[in-house]
């Protein structure tokens, strides 16, 4: 197991076996376009052929095959596989008309930095001859508690932009909560999108999005663009076909235990090493840019603690929820994560004990402090279950404590300023 930077203290790395996610630890799992397309194909959806490549040689070979199979004068498209929007604008999507050009383009894209993500893999496929582009997605509608299909005849652009400029241009239909998307609902959606001429394909794709969502516990399946493309049929005559040209899928990580194969699709670059270490330790950790490390139980209270640090004039270094019922070792692990960020110059611990016992947290803090080599001022507030025992322990160990939430935030900010001065 890879553990984050250890140069600031000598807390030993925790035992290796992975722990199930903490109560409350939920991180959306995005997967790359090529992997999303694999899932769509497995559900029977029409996706044009593609291959992925991690090296220039692999890219060249794939391009050679597609160029040989395609029409004379045809091209291939080479797309960076990174989990950020706006790949095209950033130069991560390019066409190539020959093997040599494909190798050159792939060489430029592989290793490219797009919004902080390094491109390690490209997708190569025949360049599509696009007749018209559409947008189609299946998402969770929280308010209606149903799966919502959203479609637009304006494809290839960001749906948020369409929603802002022409909200009436977005067609919305809900799947039945018990039966999924029914044939007549899919037909209705297809007609509303102007896909009457491609009715069969459109129905199959719309239903397929819902099937894909349910098959993999996705919370988003987005096809943008869904496109009518011109291809040559078996007899060589041109024909039109509705296909999924690009795909984006995010998975509900609460459901990952029942999809063991999907965990491998998690993009290692999407998660900072500290985030991954936290997940494996059963903590919810999100690194931010500030200087005050926060350790809190409960997501709502963790967000509030960050807000109050900011309000008191400081900047939170992280969101960290140790979850309900955390024991001393988990607390020590959380401290390790916070201290691994060199920018952290003060720590605020805020625990409202319900299921979590205050004395357990206090023991964890004392243990963690005994092992850390970097001296960072710490302000601890523990209320609720076993708060009195916690207070005694913390007093004996000479921790700085606070009683109110606002007071704790103010003390942490003052400590951070003192450290910075």
């Amino acid at each position: 197991m890879t553990v984050g930077p250890l140069r600031y203290h000598r807390l030993p790395s925790p035992p290796a076996p992975p722990v199930p996610p903490a109560r409350g630890a939920r991180i959306r799992v995005k997967i790359q376009e090529a992997d999303a397309k694999t899932l769509l194909v497995a559900q029977g959806l029409p996706v044009p052929a593609w291959q992925t490549a991690r090296t220039v040689d692999e890219a060249r070979a794939a391009a050679a095959r597609f160029l040989a199979d395609g029409p004379p004068g045809g091209k291939v498209v080479i797309k960076a596989q990174v989990l950020v929007g706006g790949r095209g604008k950033a130069g991560g999507v390019k066409l190539a008309g020959s093997e040599a050009e494909a190798a050159e383009v792939a060489g430029a894209i592989l290793g490219m930095d797009i919004k902080g993500m390094t491109v390690r893999r490209v997708l190569i496929g025949p360049a599509a001859d696009i007749v018209k582009e559409y947008y189609l997605s299946a998402v969770l509608d929280r308010a209606e508690r149903r799966i919502l299909l959203m479609g637009s005849a304006e494809g290839g652009v960001e749906i948020e932009q369409v929603a802002a400029d022409h909200p009436e241009a977005i067609i919305r239909r809900h799947a039945d909560p018990l039966l999924g998307l029914l044939d007549y609902q899919a037909r209705d959606l297809a007609f509303a999108l102007g896909l009457g001429a491609q009715l069969k394909d459109a129905v199959r794709i719309a239903k397929g999005l819902v099937t894909t969502m349910r098959a993999y516990d996705a919370d988003l399946v987005e096809i943008n663009p869904l496109a009518i493309v011109r291809e040559s049929g078996v007899d060589g005559a041109p024909m039109e076909r509705l296909v999924c040209l690009d795909a984006k899928i995010t998975l509900d990580d609460s459901a990952l235990p029942r999809h063991p194969g999907l965990e491998e699709l998690r993009d290692p670059d999407e998660e900072a090493p500290a985030d991954r270490e936290a997940r494996e330790a059963g903590l919810t950790f999100i690194k931010l840019d500030g200087t005050i490390g926060c350790m809190v139980n409960g997501a709502g209270l963790a967000m509030t603690t960050m807000d109050l640090v900011k309000r008191a004039g400081g900047e939170p270094a992280n969101f960290l929820d140790i979850g309900g019922g955390a024991r001393a070792d988990k607390v020590a692990h959380a401290m390790h994560l916070i201290l691994a960020d060199p920018k952290v110059d003060a720590i605020l611990v805020n625990i409202f004990g319900g299921i979590t016992r205050g004395d357990e947290v206090a023991r964890g803090l004392i243990e963690a402090r005994a092992q850390q080599t970097r001296d960072v001022p710490m302000v601890v507030r523990i209320v609720g279950t076993n708060a009195a025992e916690a207070a005694t322990l913390l007093e004996e160990a000479r921790f700085e404590t606070a009683t109110s939430l606002d007071d704790a935030a103010a003390k942490a900010v003052a400590a951070s300023r003192g450290a910075a001065a």
Binding site: L140, R145, V296, G298, G300, M303, T304, L308, G384
Partner: protein, 294 residues
């Protein structure tokens, strides 16, 4: 009076023989909640909580034998949606699902089935509800409450405790405190709870605790502007400093495409007559400033 739970509540605890189920059932009983039954498949005929509570194999048995009308679910995520549907099908009117980590899509048919049976689901991933001095269902520590007339509704767990403790410390008691849960798909929304409070003669002020993500706070605010104009109302929104696109612990707490921001929620609540606090500790003061004399 109170909403959702009260002296008349007859509770069945699903998963009462599990570690969490037993621990919290004991705390609920100690608080004064009338627990009439427990339910664990295969343990029917046994008893729980030192012989004080009969255990049944099915919720239907528990309802038939004890007249249970409310359920509290401590069943692991894989079986929790089924437990919700079993309770609804057995005729339970109010179902609290405490379980966290249920795949969101599993809740869609469960919520629909609950609706079709005329039942109400609170949660999942919620701390439950307490009507101070009467009953508590769920995991909210009983010690933080005080009897009174402020209705509290929240999406969070420990943040709710923080706010309720602040109210109690300031001498402001509560009629009922409800945690609706932090998941994207939940059975009861802010709006639903505000409607219950509006119909409760003993609720004379409202505290709403929201967080980033979704638009449930905005929807509730719009309704409150029209129907709760006569009550003092205060609110707190967590996540003002949360960055866009990051899911802040709760599955539902995410800002995406510029929607679901704290700023949007604060603006909607203020427009609806809520005084919005910058910290949970300011809630009691704001409530008094809004004219609440409780």
């Amino acid at each position: 009076m109170s909403v959702l739970v009260g002296r008349e509540t007859r509770l069945v605890v699903q998963g009462i023989t599990g570690r969490e189920g037993e621990f919290h059932a004991r705390a609920m009983q100690a608080y004064g909640t009338r627990i009439v039954a427990g339910m664990t498949p295969g343990k029917g005929g046994q008893s729980a909580l030192d012989g004080t509570v009969p255990v049944f194999d099915t919720v239907a048995d528990a309802v038939r034998e004890t007249g249970a009308d409310t359920s509290c679910i401590f069943v692991p995520a894989a079986g929790a949606p089924d437990a919700v549907m079993e309770a609804a099908d057995a005729g339970i009117a109010t179902i609290f699902c405490i379980t966290e980590g249920i795949p969101a899509l599993d809740m869609i048919p469960a919520v629909e089935l609950v609706r079709s049976r005329g039942a109400r689901l609170i949660g999942p991933n919620c701390p439950g509800a307490t009507s101070p001095g009467r009953a508590k269902v769920g995991i909210i520590p009983g010690s933080i409450h005080r009897e009174g007339r402020v209705g509290v509704v929240s999406r969070s767990g420990t943040l709710t405790y923080e706010a309720v403790q602040a109210m109690t410390d300031a001498g402001l008691g509560q009629s009922t405190c409800v945690g609706i849960g932090g998941d994207p798909i939940i059975g009861t929304t802010f709006l639903d709870v505000l409607q219950l409070f509006a119909a409760d003669p003993d609720t004379e002020a409202i505290v709403l605790i929201g967080e980033i993500g979704g638009a449930a706070e905005e929807t509730a605010a719009a309704w409150a502007a029209e129907h709760l104009a006569h009550l003092p109302k205060v609110a707190f929104i967590a996540g003002r400093t949360a960055p866009e696109g990051k899911r802040m612990g709760h599955a539902g707490a995410i800002i995406s495409g510029g929607a679901g921001t704290a700023a949007s929620k604060v603006a909607a609540l203020e427009a609806a007559g809520f005084a919005v606090a910058g910290s949970p500790t300011e809630l009691p003061g704001l409530l008094r400033a809004a004219g609440y004399r409780g």
